[in-house]
């Protein structure tokens, strides 16, 4: 057997160590947490049923029996989840022998672009070919297996060589990879079985096939929104085709969140608009102004209304017959000067 990229002695040592790990500690796995609360609830329901039955409270007993049924169902699901997390039971003869593992190492070199072994770090890694999904170029990925962690939750990681992460989600380098963790989906059971039995070629092949496929219904970020942006107001992720933007601050904005300024008709985000304190309509900052006699911003229309109202009030305050000075300023009023309506021809002389 000729190994191209790894020294034969290193490969043999790795095969022996991997086998030793699989035959020993990897079959134990981590101790799962048991559903103690669920069990306690089941005991309480059973005790209530016993009490109701003893006292011949048959209607109550029927209701408690229903509770017992649902509690049992929930406990069964929790136990099934725990069983799923345990390392797959592997009969000793199905654990790959060191020679079988060595044959897998040699086959990996033919199956993948690169294959690398690190005895010190106890890792085995392969490089996939570049991955393109529906026209989105994601590049190649390195799959790194820590063989001494086989049997634990996450014994391997998936690293993008030249990350083409989803826009705004740096940790998502693939629709099914987040923080270098592959969400295995349909592959979870065959991957665990392959690792438990030391079928390394099968393991890396399964991971590669998942990376080469796209499940639009269950992706961290869908490909349609891979180059997308997040709406500034509602946080919804939209594709670049759907993207709009605020005409004031240029932040991305979805169709539902963009609203037009009542004054200038520009489409703006909520951050660039304020309410007119009189009419309550929303305007952009440049379409609102302050008014000397009150706090708050008002729109042009409300400002005109206020000014008209003030002018009208001032007119009402003037004595009858007085008219404002030509320059528009209110007339000075002389104290005591009264026009005697009965003295025709006389008129008050303004001081």
């Amino acid at each position: 057997m000729v190994l191209k990229s790894m020294p034969a002695r290193s490969a043999i040592r790795a095969a022996l160590r991997i086998h030793d790990h699989l035959a020993g500690a990897s079959r134990l796995g981590e101790c799962p947490g048991l559903p103690e609360e669920g069990w306690a609830e089941l005991q309480r329901a059973a005790a209530r049923l016993q009490t109701a039955t003893n006292r011949e409270w048959y209607a109550g007993a029927a209701s408690v029996q229903d509770d017992l049924y649902y509690t049992l169902q929930r406990l069964e699901r929790e136990l099934a989840d725990i069983r799923q997390q345990l390392p797959k039971r592997t009969t000793p003869e199905l654990v790959s022998s060191p020679s079988t593992i060595l044959a897998d190492l040699a086959a990996l070199e033919n199956e993948f672009e690169q294959c690398a072994l690190d005895l010190q770090q106890q890792t085995l890694s392969v490089l996939t070919d570049p991955i393109d999904l529906d026209g989105v170029h994601l590049g190649a990925f390195r799959v790194v297996l820590r063989w001494n962690q086989i049997g634990q939750q996450r014994p391997y990681r998936v690293e993008a060589i030249n990350p083409a992460s989803a826009n705004g989600y740096e940790e998502v380098t693939h629709p099914h990879v987040r923080d270098k963790t592959l969400c295995e989906g349909e592959g979870v059971v065959p991957i665990r079985t392959a690792l438990a039995q030391g079928r390394l070629l099968d393991f890396f092949t399964l991971v590669r096939q998942i990376l080469h496929n796209y499940n639009a219904e269950s992706a961290h970020v869908t490909l349609e929104r891979w180059d997308g942006v997040t709406c500034r107001d509602c946080g919804w992720r939209m594709s670049s085709d759907e993207r709009g933007s605020c005409e004031r601050c240029d932040e991305p904005l979805c169709g539902d969140c963009s609203s037009s300024c009542q004054g200038c008709d520009r489409y703006v985000c909520s951050g660039c608009t304020s309410e007119c304190s009189d009419c309550g309509d929303r305007y952009c900052a440049s379409c609102l102004s302050t008014h000397a006699n009150s706090a708050g911003l008002v729109c042009e229309s409300c400002l005109e209304t206020r000014l008209e109202d003030e002018t009208h009030e001032m007119d009402e305050e003037l004595p009858p017959g007085d008219s404002p000075a030509p320059n528009g300023s209110p007339p000075a009023v002389c104290a005591g000067a009264q026009a005697n309506a009965l003295c025709l021809g006389e008129t008050a002389v303004l001081a």
Binding site: A107, C183, P190, T193, R199, T205, N213, N215, A219
Partner: protein, 73 residues
């Protein structure tokens, strides 16, 4: 005769199976994946691509892996 059959489809299966002498790869595949098409699977014999009409030998290792495996989030 016995061959090691590894089926990475669904729940996975890996064990020695007894087959009649002269069984081809295609025949064992059809027995194992009844409703599947061969082009939807990576079929390897002794870790190498193999022709469907190849006759299996005692101790051969046949692996069947779906081409399309859907991930999740």
């Amino acid at each position: 005769m016995k061959v090691l059959l590894i089926n990475n489809h669904g729940g996975g299966f890996a064990d020695y199976v007894e087959i009649p002498a002269g069984t081809t790869v295609r025949e064992l595949f059809q027995r194992e994946i009844r409703a599947g098409k061969a082009e939807d699977y990576l079929i390897r014999c002794n870790r190498q691509p193999v022709a469907s009409d190849q006759v299996l030998q005692e101790g051969d290792r046949l692996s069947i892996t779906p081409v399309k495996i859907e991930g999740a989030r």
